[in-house]
């Protein structure tokens, strides 16, 4: 999946002079490319992620996915992209607190090929929270929820994995385990990665950093 950005700028930054490799610039993220969008708080990391997913349009300029302008995509095209092309870990996780961990996986539109519900449990086990399988998500800590959200994104098919500060509440040991699972899935899907983080030192292989 190929992204092209042309003079993209959030409305809130329009009257400001900003130093950025993203805002008001022309650049591209190629298929399979791994990109770290790095910035301190308040620079628009989450906005950037939401723009990519077509969830906000408070910007000037244009974003193209596979050479098609984002705003021209139909509901059906967006549904297909969100179901099979882009998988996402949202900063606020967007889990269903009322449902159990298991049900949060079951509710996905589809699993990646060759993946079954048991694979999610196996991944939970690798991240040391297998015992939470039947617990309601609302009862988990934020760090535990973050791991569930990450596994949910890995269970889907995708061409690009978009993660908005996915390790913000994880210790370095759990972060490493998560990166291991992500690397495996990126390899399996031959997919790209767009990762946003406060910290520029992320231990992914081949990660290109863009400063917001």
């Amino acid at each position: 999946m190929h992204f092209k950005f042309q003079q993209l700028c959030p409305h809130v930054f329009q009257d400001q002079e900003i130093e950025s490799e993203v805002w008001n610039k022309n650049f591209e993220i190629s298929t399979n490319e791994r990109v770290l969008v790095h910035a301190i708080s308040g620079k628009g990391k989450t906005s950037f992620m939401y723009y990519l997913l077509g969830l906000r349009d408070d910007y000037t300029g244009e974003i193209y996915i596979n050479n098609k302008a984002l705003h021209s995509l139909s509901v059906e095209e967006w549904t297909e992209i969100r179901a099979n092309k882009i998988s996402c870990v949202f900063q606020d996780l967007q889990l269903f607190d009322k449902l159990s961990v298991k049900e949060n996986f079951e509710i996905l539109p589809s699993f990646a090929s060759s993946y079954k519900l048991e694979d999610a449990k196996e991944m939970l086990d690798k991240l040391d929270i297998a015992e939470k399988w039947d617990s309601r998500v609302g009862t988990l800590s934020f760090g535990q929820k973050q791991r569930v959200a990450l596994i949910r994104s890995l269970m889907k098919p995708f061409d690009v994995l978009v993660c908005d500060e996915p390790f913000s509440h994880l210790d370095s040991q759990n972060t490493q385990k998560c990166i291991g699972l992500m690397e495996k899935r990126l390899e399996e899907e031959q997919a790209g990665l767009i990762l946003s983080a406060l910290d520029s030192k992320q231990e992914f292989s081949g990660l290109k950093t863009i400063h917001l």
Binding site: G54, D57, T79, R82, A83, Q94, F96, K98, L99, P109
Partner: protein
């Protein structure tokens, strides 16, 4: 997904919405069915036909000694026709020639009586017949008898130890009318073609009265002393007041029936309006509950679409749940309607009203329309919500 959307909702609101819809549908079905049946019964028994009354000026001592006029002038008739509560108004034309009525039939003994005949326009007749016309040269004159006259005749026959006459028999009787003028007389054949409950005169076609008056009548006696008036639906009260204010009168029994018919008409119209409101309310209650569920589930709907669920799939989840719920409520209300129908019919029978007990086709139409309208409302509300939430 059903689990996610509906399991954690307030059950009390669901119960209230279900009960509201159930009662609304029950009232709708009951009122529609009985409205239709009562209207059909009213039509059959002339309970709901338009009010037709015959009016004349009140007879007073002054009119007896000739100080006031019992005749209607052209202006008075025109004035009445212009009134908003009058649908139709016309004169009752009376014969100014003498008529002898004679039953000439082997079935019953000979019966003779002097009568006088009148005519009204066809639109005022409460008798449906194809034979209501006469032109010069026609062999038979059609006659419509007041039902009271038949009862009087039967009384006479009974006293004379002669079998009484049924309606069908009377319609087959051979009758002669002897028309007498000052110098001439003529026999014409006649045939009774129906009975009127509203007019107390022996009626013949207007063309026959006009012909008879011209050939045998006394032109100076031709006066208009009676009018026939058909009032508009639900406006009989205005006509009654007009009659009072203008010193006009009508037969008392006719007035009572007219008042009753008017009251029944207003009551049935009122129930029709309430039924229509009920349909609206019954559906509104459940659609409002859907809106509530959609609003409560806004986060869930948005997140599911962000995960790649199609809006159409989500619409189907809501449609399936609510259409199934509505269908169950519909079945329950139809079931209870069946019971209620039975008890209400017994009530009507006790009150002397025997209604046709087959289920009104209005009910089938209502079920299809209500189900269709409800399904559409659910689809539209869900679709709007999905569209609003999709890119938010």
């Amino acid at each position: 997904m059903k689990h996610l959307f509906f399991k954690y909702q307030n059950k009390r609101q669901l119960v209230l919405a279900t009960v509201g819809t159930f009662l609304g549908l029950l009232f709708l079905f009951t009122s529609l069915h009985f409205l239709h049946k009562v209207y059909a019964y009213g039509d059959k028994t002339e309970m709901l036909s338009k009010n037709t009354i015959v009016v004349q000026k009140k007879v007073s001592n002054a009119s007896i000694i000739g100080l006031s006029n019992s005749e209607f002038s052209e202006n008075e008739i025109k004035d009445l026709r212009k009134k908003s509560f009058v649908e139709k108004c016309d004169v009752i034309r009376s014969s100014t020639f003498d008529v002898l009525f004679q039953i000439d039939d082997p079935l019953i003994p000979s019966f003779n009586s002097d009568i006088f005949v009148q005519s009204v326009k066809t639109e005022f007749l409460d008798v449906k017949t194809d034979s209501w016309s006469w032109k010069k040269g026609d062999e038979v004159v059609p006659i419509i008898m007041p039902r009271d006259f038949l009862m009087m005749l039967n009384n006479f026959l009974s006293i004379s130890n002669i079998p009484q006459l049924s309606d069908d028999l009377v319609l087959d009787l051979k009758i002669n009318l002897k028309i007498k003028g000052q110098m001439r007389r003529e026999w014409v054949k006649a045939k009774i073609v129906g009975f009127t409950n509203e007019l107390s005169s022996i009626l013949v076609p207007e063309s026959f009265v006009l012909w008879g008056n011209a050939e045998y009548g006394k032109p100076d006696e031709e006066v208009i002393s009676q009018l026939v008036i058909k009032s508009k639906d639900g406006q009989f009260g205005h006509l009654e007041k007009y009659l009072d204010d203008n010193n006009l009168e009508s037969k008392k029994s006719q007035m009572v029936i007219a008042r009753l018919k008017s009251a029944l008409g207003v009551l049935l119209s009122l129930i029709s309006v309430v039924s229509l409101l009920t349909v609206f309310l019954a559906m509104l209650v459940l659609v409002q509950y859907l809106q509530l569920i959609l609003t409560h589930n806004e986060y869930e709907i948005r997140t599911l679409m962000r995960l790649g669920h199609s809006p159409n799939v989500l619409i189907r989840v809501f449609m399936k749940y609510f259409v199934k719920l509505f269908f169950i409520i519909l079945l329950l209300s139809i079931g209870l309607f069946g019971l209620l129908k039975y008890y209400l019919e017994q009530l009507f029978i006790s009150g002397g009203i025997s209604l046709n007990s087959t289920i009104s086709y209005y009910l089938y139409i209502a079920i299809i329309l209500v189900f269709g309208a409800f399904t559409f409302s659910i689809w539209k509300s869900s679709k709007n919500k999905m569209e609003d939430t999709f890119n938010s």
